[in-house]
């Protein structure tokens, strides 16, 4: 077993597509929460294989896209601290703050390093003891445990110059927040990587409380198509349950070690989501005993961020209320090479994905 090839076979994907077509009688709108799913759907051309009754919309599951402009401005402010090294994952580099992107800040001389793991930032702090290393902790429950592990490691090593700006976000409560708004989604393709940490259990309030079926899906084309089939079956049969398609990666209870270290290092707080607003219980801050490693005290108190450029519809797109091509800026003023909104920046942002994989009208309207 190679864990990927089986889920990429043309015969398998086609047979699932046939079953979706047979099962689907009504019109259903499904949201793929996660940007990795959006990319998989587009990259494999899955929309072209679905019946007209199944419409897919992208959700807010791209960590870069939902980071508020104020938070980007905070990172930019950290760059201005003398002798600071800002260590970040690469996809943050191009997100526009009020005035600049991190890439532009680096071009102007700031010491910004692209890293691939939280432990690379620990290494930077160890090699540069005389300088402060600000690690930008970003991502959902998938990356939060590795940030937590780095903080604990820094404490063990007594690395006082290692500081974390925690911009981490939690996913299940934000799905609830979307459903409180104008989001006309019938069911959710839920993020396999997030659920490999938290398990499928935290999705229960969505299925039972809001009556929206949830299926946790893997990322291969066969996984995504199977999850769509399971959602269509639930909807056509009038069920609303939490199901796991990605059984090879996800359990109902989740990864207890990862959950434990998150709990040890972080407290849950509210968090500002771009396009959605402040959502209770969706943010993570360092607990008191790790305060020495918190970058927040280094961020200037008064950051006044500029409003989004006129016409930018990232908020509507992140809430699943608009598709990227319907934004007046899409493909004209806003492109991956000169992005205006964050959804055009990240390689997993829904606008960037539409732009790369579905630029012409025929494919956009699928």
């Amino acid at each position: 077993m190679r864990f990927a090839e089986e889920f990429r076979s043309r015969e398998l994907v086609k047979s699932i597509a046939d079953r979706i077509r047979q099962k689907c009688q009504k019109q259903w709108t499904l949201m793929e929460f996660c940007g990795t799913h959006t990319v998989s759907i587009f990259r494999h051309g899955l929309k072209s294989m679905l019946p007209d009754g199944v419409k897919l919309v992208s959700g807010p599951g791209c960590p870069v896209c939902v980071t508020s402009k104020t938070d980007i401005d905070k990172i930019l402010a950290l760059c201005d601290i003398p002798d600071a090294i800002v260590a970040t994952y690469g996809d943050m580099m191009k997100v526009p703050g009020s005035k600049f992107t991190l890439a532009e800040k680096r071009a102007q001389g700031a010491d910004v390093r692209v890293i691939y793991s939280s432990y690379d930032a620990i290494e930077l702090a160890r090699e540069n003891r005389g300088r402060k290393v600000f690690f930008i902790g970003i991502g959902f429950e998938t990356t939060a445990p590795s940030t937590a592990a780095a903080v604990r490691r820094a404490k063990e090593m007594g690395l006082q110059n290692f500081k974390v700006l925690s911009l981490h976000k939690l996913t299940p409560p934000v799905i609830g927040a979307l459903l409180e708004g104008d989001c006309a989604v019938d069911g959710f393709i839920c993020p396999g990587h997030v659920c490999s940490i938290i398990g499928a259990k935290p999705l229960e309030p969505i299925a039972s409380g809001y009556g929206k079926p949830c299926v946790v899906a893997g990322f291969e084309p066969g996984d995504v198509m199977q999850a769509i089939l399971m959602l269509v079956a639930q909807l056509e049969e009038g069920r609303s349950e939490v199901e796991i398609e990605y059984v090879r990666g996800v359990t109902y209870e989740g990864n207890s070690n990862a959950l434990k270290i998150m709990e040890e290092v972080f407290d849950i707080t509210s968090s500002e989501w771009r396009g959605i607003g402040v959502v209770e219980n969706t943010g993570l801050v360092l607990r008191g005993e790790f305060a020495d490693f918190d970058a927040s005290p280094y961020v200037p108190q008064q950051i006044r961020s500029e409003p989004d450029p006129p016409g930018c519809k990232c908020g509507d797109i992140l809430r699943g209320e608009m598709l990227p091509p319907d934004c007046p800026l899409f493909g004209r003023l806003c492109k991956p090479s000169s992005p205006i909104g964050p959804c055009m920046v990240s390689s997993e942002g829904s606008c960037a994905t539409y732009y790369l994989y579905a630029r012409s009208e025929k494919w956009m309207n699928l």
């Binding site: 990927a4 990429r8 076979s9 043309r10 994907v13 086609k14 597509a17 587009f42 990259r43 494999h44 051309g45 899955l46 929309k47 072209s48 294989m49 191009k94 890439a103 532009e104 071009a107 102007q108 890293i115 691939y116 690379d120 084309p221 066969g222 492109k335 991956p336 090479s337 000169s338 390689s347 960037a352 732009y355 790369l356 994989y357 579905a358 630029r359 012409s360 494919w363």
Partner: protein, 335 residues
């Protein structure tokens, strides 16, 4: 227009294109440079001379399957070969950082002379500059080259026609992944080697079969996807590619998945893509496969009159989507 140069301006994708259009369109207007081909073709008396230059800044300078020296020779030889020219001579210029070791310089010169011998070109001139520590990263190389274009030969990126088949000379993504595997902080064990190689012998073998090559390019920075898009837009045609026909090593595919890269955008340094009439394709493929750099040559798609300027991909699982050009920065300093 941007206020500053960003790394994306060197990535080979959309930003590079807009930078070149700005430089050429604003300051260097003339029909030869505006054609934006891999080499300029100059008519001097009765001869047609191809002329090109390229600079190499790859990091690290030694990588599996090659080094900055072999890359500098092959890259310029290939730019000449892509317009159907027979490479004649190169110049070689170094910008070296103070403190660079003679041991490494020896290694590079050995590699450069070996590569030039394989390609059958002479290095006839050059230049050396040494700069203070920190002014460049170890060593940068520039090569320029001239070649002779046979009479009647006219290969450009704008000549693809509906009905043409698309031939790719081998596997994609090897160079980019080989370089990536050596990067600081990313090092991973791999057997993947760069495909850096001179393509002039392969082109000669192709020209022995037919001169009816409508368009040709070597897909370097920006990868195969970006090159196909350039050809679709300059030739004003549509291109349909079958994903399962595109040769790719499984190790390269795995590495791409691990790093979230799409192999269609990863750089190659020893591959070409050619657009030819379907009737000559079988014989052409047969002769390409006899040359080492063409042994995995395959037909990967065809040219259509519909969907002008667009490259479509029939995906491995049976779906259909657009294969766009690279936008933004994939990996800096890949060549």
């Amino acid at each position: 227009m941007d206020e500053f140069i960003r790394l994306a301006h060197g990535s080979g994708g959309d930003a590079s294109k807009s930078l070149i259009e700005f430089l050429v369109g604003k300051y260097l207007k003339n029909p030869i440079v505006e054609s934006l081909e891999d080499s300029a073709v100059l008519e001097i008396d009765a001869s047609r001379i191809a002329f090109t230059t390229d600079s190499y800044v790859v990091h690290p300078i030694f990588f599996p399957g090659g080094d900055i020296g072999s890359l500098a020779v092959n890259g310029t030889v290939n730019d000449l070969a892509m317009v159907g020219a027979f490479p004649l001579a190169l110049t070689l210029s170094f910008i070296i950082e103070e403190g660079f070791s003679f041991e490494d310089l020896n290694r590079l010169m050995e590699s450069i002379s070996r590569t030039a011998r394989v390609a059958g070109v002479e290095i006839v001139g050059g230049d050396t500059k040494v700069v203070e520590k920190g002014s460049v990263d170890r060593i940068f190389i520039n090569t320029a080259g001239v070649g002779m274009v046979p009479e009647g030969m006219s290969i450009s990126s704008g000549g693809a026609r509906p009905g043409d088949v698309v031939i790719l000379s081998g596997t994609i993504g090897d160079h980019g992944i080989a370089v990536l595997s050596q990067r600081q902080g990313l090092r991973f064990e791999t057997t993947i080697e760069s495909d850096t190689a001179p393509l002039n012998k392969l082109v000669e073998a192709m020209l022995e079969v037919t001169h009816d090559i409508h368009a040709m390019r070597d897909p370097t920075r920006g990868g195969l996807a970006t090159t196909l898009n350039e050809i679709a837009s300059r030739s004003q045609v549509g291109i349909a590619i079958d994903e399962d026909k595109v040769p790719i090593r499984s190790e390269v595919l795995r590495a791409c998945e691990m790093f979230g890269l799409d192999p269609f955008y990863v750089a190659n340094e020893g591959k070409l893509v050619a657009f030819v009439p379907e009737s000559v394709a079988p014989e052409l493929l047969e002769s390409m496969r006899k040359v080492d750099t063409g042994k995995h040559a395959a037909i990967i798609g065809r040219v259509t009159a519909q969907n002008e300027g667009i490259v479509l991909l029939n995906t491995r699982v049976g779906g259909e989507r657009i294969l766009g050009s690279l936008s933004g920065e994939l990996l800096p300093r890949i060549c």
